[in-house]
């Protein structure tokens, strides 16, 4: 595949750059430095040769070089600064300019909107936010999307506990679908990208597995020019059903340097350590139950993860789980030393060049990441090529191609997976060092040795040293984009794009591994293909002096195909060849899943006197996944923008700019393929010599199905004060989705676990605020830019279908008795679980005989998995050549059910379990000395120990009288009651997931132009960078609040999370 890719690039270069490669006559280079009024170099200033239309941007030191002939007009412009012109003369090839601030031009910031149309921000009737590539490519995340955390109002990014190779959940303005995909569409240089999750941890009972990542992680941060976030349906209506949850437009860098080959080298290297550690652990007591030491090897084996023993005492020698005697002494941090210090090396070289007719950019990136989990690593190479060429005056062609190759070893098992390391060590007795398992995990014959974790918790050393999983992804994307400008006002654009990903996943479990005793090899081999063709005709015309009209009409076909096999090979016969041919039982299940959407769309924009704008769009989609009679749906949008400061000619020193905007839109959506019919298939493994089969559909086919509709409304304003030093943007929106196509649970007695229906209405409303300012005076040598964003979104489930029960489970931790649900009248993502039985005053009722809290059999709302509000602060301070950037991410108000903490309590590791232990030990010693039975001791009222807080019914069942409890009990019995299979009291382990995090911190030194020159460079900088360096505030002990085990809609569950990672390192950027 690499060869195909390189050949493709070479061909393009030959066709479009013959002159660049073999020289050019008649023209010369104009070079110079562009600076501001204070003589500070200005990077990213656009220098345009108006004749040739060649555009170059100044580099970090303000330098530019543009190709020109005598008499060409050169335009130098930058946002917020007055545009200047000069005429090129070969007698004066060096032109340095100082640009002045210009209030009027600042109001014409251009952003990319739907279909890649560049428009002035003032024209837009909806909210967009643009993030510059420079803000994200220093402290690089392995998944580029994580860099946006905290930077865009209303964009909520949650990375899973899967770590750097895992996927991320990205939600804009809340969830619009109850059970479907709520993530935005990614559009890379105008081409929609399939951001399929390649597989993630199950969302239902016994959910476990690995997170195979998502497609967006393939983007190299160094290739990103800018990221534009289009939030509401009005902004995205033209992208159709795929964009119902917003669009993230990624514009990649183009060749825009000089005729000479520009070389840009960017390198970020860091070490990776644990950001979160177990921080709420008791260190006084060790292994055992009921404050008793294990009596023999068998009971030592059974209590390896129980810390309800007596006080630790190095003087005691204890027979261990393996028969070896060791001191009963504290081993501090006995779990976290399992993890290593990881590293990350991230290097990109980019080559670019441009002429008046053509430009190109080629980049090669290499990423090597060693995770803190031993044996886990990522290697990724990305090659990106983009080029643009004009043939004659009217025809231009853009080409873009990317090839990515990624290898990930040993993705971490998450959630309920028996190989989840985070879970498996949980509760390890204080006197046991994890190192012990490093060598004794297998027998001399190589058999797995049970270490006390049983079938569902495999020894982590077996997991990392004997088992393995490997993922290889190869991805090739290519697009051709041709435009023909017929006349000044009429143009036709056609695009064709393909995006192919080959995914190969292999997971090996040797013989004797619990759950795969005969040995097992699982393979997933899939090809994901997206092909899109698109045509767009545009017509723009100025009518009279005041009106500007443009109309666009387009159509597209989007094909997505997933094809491949999922295989399971079990019962290994040949033990030294980890290949499918070594197994007795082979099950290979093919899949071939196509889907097509055909669309036509139109857009009309009317501008009046450059202060009033009106947009109207309409789009019709036809989807192959819906029933034939319902497969076509049409939806419109309307938006308007009114720049009142221009309309009313307000021009004060305080209010420099003011705009009001409003929009309404509707979007339709379809469902997944093959859900309309019932299917059967054969099971793959013969039994008694013959194959059997069954109904393979797990979802009851719908009787009738309509497309989902989401209708939304938005108003907003953008105000700028004090000569644009302060920028304020606010938006209020509301949206309602009806006829939701949901796969929802069914009564099992119907024979199916799920059904597909049009069910329910979900409503979102919220506000978004953005304030950015440059508070220091223009004369100050120190520059400070600060930006604060805030968003509040409320997703309310208005109704569900009558075919659904009282609520709908989105995700379950059922063995722990808690689930995340959609329940009418409640916020989307409500946590439902079991609470204590309580008296009318809310006190916990205890069982009068055993003092254990009584469970209320009715499930209650215990919290919600979505945040009340989110926000972020980014700050940039610069002084001379130094700058300091920091970004903070704030999330407030969600709840997290932490099963890590539940088990730490049930296993006696948490500090809360210390209460009453000494008293209980003394009480038991006294009882034994008095030769009394437990019952006699209790009858005499002499039991001391843990006094559960709560009340006891001293009346009758019919006429209860609640009296505060004063009796004591064995703390072991009390705490272990919270970990029964099926229905736990979950309340004590629902924590606030609120946090304040520093996402990234970069301290940069930019070399002066003079120094660069001396070194023969065009520009360079060195930065110290930190990724996720601190959690400033959190409520949940022991784990990172950002620890969901999958990125599904059911957020709010945490189970045996691995520590999250922090990176410290440096970034070097050199331009030749």
């Amino acid at each position: 595949m690499t060869r195909v890719f390189l050949g493709f690039i070479f061909l393009f270069l030959l066709v479009t750059f013959p002159k660049t490669m073999f020289g050019q006559t008649g023209a010369f280079n104009v070079t110079g430095i562009i600076s501001d009024e204070h003589n500070f170099a200005l990077p990213n200033v656009s220098v345009l040769n108006k004749k040739t239309k060649q555009v170059v941007n100044t580099n970090a030191s303000g330098g530019y070089s543009v190709r020109a002939s005598n008499g060409d007009t050169i335009q130098v412009s930058s946002v917020g600064l007055a545009t200047q012109f000069f005429v090129a003369r070969d007698s004066k090839k060096r032109v340095d300019l100082r640009l002045k601030e210009d209030v009027t031009t600042l109001n014409t910031v251009e952003v990319r909107t739907a279909l890649g149309i560049k428009r002035s921000e003032r024209e837009l009737g909806y909210a967009v936010t643009q993030v510059n590539g420079d803000d994200i490519n220093k402290a690089k995340e392995t998944n580029v999307i994580n860099s946006l955390a905290g930077k865009v109002a209303g964009l909520v990014i949650t990375s899973t506990a899967g770590g750097p190779a895992g996927s991320s959940r990205v939600v804009l303005r809340g969830s619009t679908s109850i059970t479907g995909n709520n993530q935005p569409l990614y559009v890379i240089d105008g081409i929609p990208m399939d951001n399929s999750n390649y597989g993630q941890v199950g969302t239902d009972q016994f959910g476990g597995g690995v997170d195979m990542g998502d497609a967006i992680s393939a983007i190299n941060p160094d290739d990103v020019e800018s990221v534009t976030v289009l939030k509401g349906p009005a902004a995205t209506a033209l992208y159709g059903s795929l964009a119902g949850n917003g669009v993230i437009l990624i514009t990649t860098k183009k060749g825009a340097n000089s005729k000479e080959l520009g070389i840009d080298f960017n390198s970020t290297n860091s070490i990776e350590t644990q950001l979160t550690k177990y921080d709420d652990v008791q260190y006084l007591y060790g292994q055992g139950r009921n404050q008793l030491l294990p009596v023999d090897q068998a009971s030592a084996f059974n209590s390896l993860f129980i810390n309800f023993g007596p006080r630790l005492d190095p003087g005691i020698n204890l027979v261990g789980f393996d028969g070896v005697s060791r001191p009963y002494a504290l081993v501090k941090d006995n779990i976290q030393n399992f993890f290593r210090t990881g590293s990350s090396f991230n290097n990109t070289v980019a080559l670019s060049s441009s002429t008046d007719k053509s430009n190109f950019r080629f980049s090669a990136a290499d990423l090597r990441y060693k995770d803190i989990v031993p044996t886990s690593d990522i290697k990724r190479n990305t090659y990106t090529f983009s080029g643009r060429s004009k043939f004659g005056d009217k025809f231009s062609l853009d080409v873009r191609a990317t090839y990515m190759n990624e290898k990930v070893n040993n993705r971490a098992g998450l959630g309920d997976s028996p190989s989840n390391i985070g879970m498996n060590f949980n509760g390890l007795a204080n006197n046991i060092d994890q190192e012990l398992f490093k060598t004794n995990y297998k027998t001399a014959q190589g058999d797995y040795v049970d270490w006390g974790g049983g079938q569902f918790r495999i020894n982590p050393y077996w997991v990392i040293q004997e088992m393995y999983n490997k993922t290889t992804k190869e991805r090739l994307t290519g697009s051709l984009n041709a435009t023909y400008q017929f006349t000044k006002s009429f143009s036709l654009n056609a695009k064709a794009a393909t995006d192919v990903t080959f995914l190969d996943y292999e997971s090996y479990r040797p013989k004797t591994t619990p759950g795969a005793l005969g040995g097992q090899l699982d393979e997933v081999n899939q090809r994901y293909t997206t092909n899109q063709v698109e045509a767009l005709a545009s017509y723009t015309r100025q009518i009279g002096k005041d009106f500007n009209i443009s109309a666009r009409l387009g159509g597209s076909i989007n094909n997505r195909i997933r094809k491949g096999t999922t295989s399971a090979f079990s019962n290994m016969i040949v033990l030294d060849a980890m290949s499918a041919s070594s197994y007795l039982d082979k099950s290979v299940i093919p899949n071939d899943i196509p889907r097509t959407i055909r669309s036509v769309y139109g857009l009309i924009t009317v501008g009046f006197k450059k202060y009033l704008y009106l947009d109207a769009t309409v789009r019709r989609d036809q989807s192959s996944t819906l029933p034939e009679h319902n497969n076509t749906y049409t939806y419109p949008s309307l938006s308007t923008s009114f720049v009142f400061t221009d309309a009313f000619k307000i021009n004060s020193n305080i209010l420099s700019f003011g705009k009001l905007r409003a929009s309404v839109a509707e979007v339709g959506n379809d469902t997944d393929p093959f859900l309309l019919d019932l299917y059967y298939s054969l099971n793959q493994l013969p039994f008694n010599g013959a194959l059997n089969g069954k109904i393979s559909s797990r979802v009851i086919p719908p009787i009738d199905l309509k497309p989902t509709r989401t209708r939304s409304f938005e108003i907003g304003t953008n105000l700028k004060f004090f000569k644009n030093k302060v920028n304020f943007d606010a938006a209020y929106y509301s949206s309602k989705s009806r006829d939701q196509i949901n796969i929802v649970p069914a009564a099992f007695s119907s024979g199916y676990p799920q059904q597909l229906i049009n069910a329910g209405v979900i409503a979102n409303h919220g506000i978004e605020l953005l304030v950015s300012a440059s508070p220091l005076s223009d004369k100050s040598r120190i520059k400070w830019d600060i930006s604060v964003n805030f968003a509040r979104n409320v997703s309310k489930v208005v109704s569900l279908s009558d075919r659904v029960g009282e609520y709908l489970s989105l995700s379950e931790a059922r063995w722990a008795g808690l689930r995340v649900v959609a329940k009418p009248g409640e916020q989307y993502g409500t946590l439902m679980g079991y609470d204590f039985m309580r008296d009318p005053d809310g006190n916990v009722i205890l069982n009068s005989t055993n003092l254990l809290p009584i469970i209320d059999p009715k499930m209650k709302v215990l919290g919600k998995g979505v945040f009340d509000w989110t926000g972020g602060v980014t700050s940039r301070i610069s002084y001379r050549n130094f700058s300091l950037n920091a970004s903070f991410d704030v999330k407030y108000g969600a709840d997290l059910f932490s099963m890590t903490n539940l088990f730490m309590h049930a296993r006696g590791s948490a500090t809360a379990t210390l209460a009453g232990r000494d008293e209980w030990i003394l009480s038991e010693e006294n009882r034994l000395a008095a030769k009394k039975t437990a019952a006699e001791w209790a009858a005499e009222g002499k039991v001391r120990g843990f006094v559960p807080q709560g009340v006891i019914n001293t009346g009758t069942a019919a006429n209860p009288v609640y009296t505060a409890n004063t009796k004591a009990m064995d703390p072991t019995l009390y705490w272990t009651t919270f970990a029964t299979d099926g229905s736990n009291i979950a309340t004590p382990f629902v924590y606030k997931a609120t946090y304040v995090k520093v996402r990234d911190l970069t301290f940069t030194y930019t070399l002066s132009q003079a120094l660069n020159k001396k070194l023969g460079l065009k520009g360079s900088s060195l930065s110290l960078v930190a990724r996720n360096p601190f959690i400033i505030y959190k409520d949940v002990p022991n784990v990172d609040p950002d620890s969901n085990y999958n990125n599904s809609n059911g957020q709010g569950l945490e189970y045996g999370s691995l520590p999250t990672r922090r990176g410290w390192g440096f970034n070097l950027n050199v331009k030749f």
């Binding site: 068998a298 393996d322 027998t443 049970d450 005793l517 055909r598 069954k694 099926g982």
Partner: protein
């Protein structure tokens, strides 16, 4: 200009072509069938019934075998042993069975109904359907039956049917299906129970009818009598060759692979396996039952236990018996509460070894727990013992006296052990000695017969539990502890949360009839 028009025409052509209505077969899965042979589904349900580890482990190993005081002592059997209510274990069979075997057998019955060359297949499916639903209703009581498993036809919330109505339909179905079987008609050669043997299927249907008829002995004795006689007249099992069983395969088990025996896999994969409970051990020793020597073993356990090699453990029963005898688990106590010790013994290779407590606690002969152990659905022994019960209870003439049926049942039960690969062979002498020493004693006949059923049904927890509830024998002394949720032995399983959420109105109507959905309530036929 001409060129411009050409382009516009081309664009319009593209746009209109986008509007065409049909996608053809794009939304039809090319990798799956829309019309699979119903015989495949019958076969799936045959292997799933006993091969599903999830059901067998939760229902049988965790709950019913320890609850019936046969084997326990291991921590992992304490849920049933001391009535620790663990809802997900009670729910498992309901949740899994409906969405796996029920939906398929209901669909297979419907699709083969009235199809000319599938009359035998249809009859077999009807019999299998009764068998599957019987396990469910015996465990939970009133359940969705007539409307169950029909989600794809729009029946998304089946109503719960009274157990009486379900049972009456069982008898009707079994009678009709037995009559419908015809050796001259279609063959179903691959099915796993009898390889398509039609007379054997007839006997299976009638034997199942006999079993279900006995359930009603106290609640509805007239119906019971009529059905017993009808079943007997139609022909029931007459030898161990008739036993209905699934011959499982010798592959390691996982939750996804039903080929090995689920109860075996649940049991032999535990590092602490269940130990014989004194209740069961005493029942064998008090009658000098030869099976005590064949079934109850002490093994030198690996250190730690290696589940894949459990068959390689050394049998040290003789040495342990010589030292301390057989010391079973005490009801309601853990193995670790009751540490045994002894002095050194001599192993087979002549070395000296001091057994640990885990070596000394006797357990089940591990040859009965191999992954390829057959699962007995209905045995000839059970049929004879049921005939003995019916003869004794109702004075019916069923081809012999109660004593004769009892002897035949006991003999068959002892002989069926040899059907396990590597299983024990109880000799004719041993059997005769037992019979001679243990004839039916006047006044204790039903107790003796049903204690023999309790022994013969070992490893089939659901059936053991059902027969204990209907007969009242053996008399088990409840063994609650401080961990117990119930002080008495539970009488049914509770409805799952999933059903309460998705089928609320119907499940509430069913609960109203029994008062509360509690495991101490009784199913309809369970008369005090």
């Amino acid at each position: 200009m001409k060129q411009k028009i050409t382009y516009i025409v081309m664009l319009l052509l593209i746009l209109t072509s986008l509007g065409c209505k049909k996608f053809g077969d794009l939304n039809v899965d090319p990798t799956r069938s829309s019309n699979l042979d119903p015989a495949s589904q019958l076969m799936y349900t045959q292997v799933y019934f006993s091969g599903d580890l999830g059901i067998q482990e939760r229902t049988n190993y965790f709950m019913l075998i320890p609850m019936m005081q046969q084997f326990a002592g291991a921590f992992n059997m304490s849920f049933g042993a001391v009535y620790k209510k663990t809802p997900s274990y009670l729910w498992r069979m309901f949740d899994e069975s409906y969405q796996n075997d029920v939906v398929n057998i209901v669909d297979a019955v419907e699709r083969s109904k009235g199809v000319a060359n599938q009359t035998n297949l249809n009859a077999m499916c009807r019999i299998m359907k009764v068998y599957i639903f019987a396990r469910l209703t015996d465990t939970y009581g009133d359940i969705p039956y007539f409307e169950a498993g029909k989600g794809s036809t729009g029946q998304i919330r089946p109503k719960f049917d009274a157990q009486k109505d379900i049972y009456y339909d069982f008898f009707k179905e079994l009678g009709e299906a037995s009559a419908q079987l015809n050796a001259a008609k279609d063959r179903v050669p691959n099915e796993y129970f009898y390889k398509g043997n039609i007379p054997a299927w007839k006997k299976f249907a009638n034997s199942l009818r006999l079993r279900l008829a006995l359930r009603l002995a106290k609640r509805d004795p007239e119906k019971a009598k009529a059905e017993i006689q009808a079943a007997y007249a139609a022909g029931v099992f007459t030898s161990n060759a008739d036993i209905c069983m699934t011959r499982h395969e010798n592959v390691p088990n996982s939750y996804q692979d039903p080929r090995p025996n689920g109860i075996s896999a649940a049991w032999n994969s535990k590092n602490e396996m269940g130990r014989v409970v004194n209740t069961f051990l005493n029942a064998l020793t008090v009658t000098n039952d030869p099976r005590v020597n064949h079934l109850i073993k002490c093994y030198r356990e690996f250190n730690p236990v290696a589940p894949t090699r459990f068959l390689e453990r050394e049998d040290i029963t003789a040495q342990v018996r010589a030292k301390i005898g057989l010391v079973g688990a005490i009801p309601g106590r853990y193995n670790s509460d009751d540490i045994l010790s002894t002095t050194a013994i001599t192993l087979a290779n002549g070395t000296s070894y001091t057994p640990r407590s885990i070596d000394l606690k006797p357990q089940l002969n591990h040859n009965l727990l191999r992954n390829d152990a057959p699962f007995f659905h209905i045995t000839y022994a059970e049929v004879e013992l049921l005939l003995a019960d019916a003869t004794q209870r109702f004075g019916l003439n069923l081809g012999g006296t109660a004593q004769e049926h009892y002897y035949k049942g006991v003999e068959a039960a002892m002989q069926q052990l040899s059907l396990y690969p590597g299983g024990p062979v109880v000799t004719a002498t041993e059997i005769n000695n037992f019979k001679t020493a243990n004839p039916l004693v006047v006044g204790r006949e039903l107790e003796q017969i049903n204690i023999q059923l309790w022994i013969a049904l070992l490893l089939n927890g659901n059936e053991t539990y059902a027969n204990w509830r209907r007969s009242g024998f053996p008399v088990l002394v409840p063994s609650p502890t401080t961990e117990s949720v119930s002080q008495t032995i539970p009488r049914r399983f509770e409805y799952p949360l999933s059903e309460k959420q998705q089928n609320a109105a119907n499940v509430e109507a069913a609960i109203k009839i029994i008062g509360t959905d509690d495991w101490t309530k009784r199913v309809w036929w369970d008369q005090e």
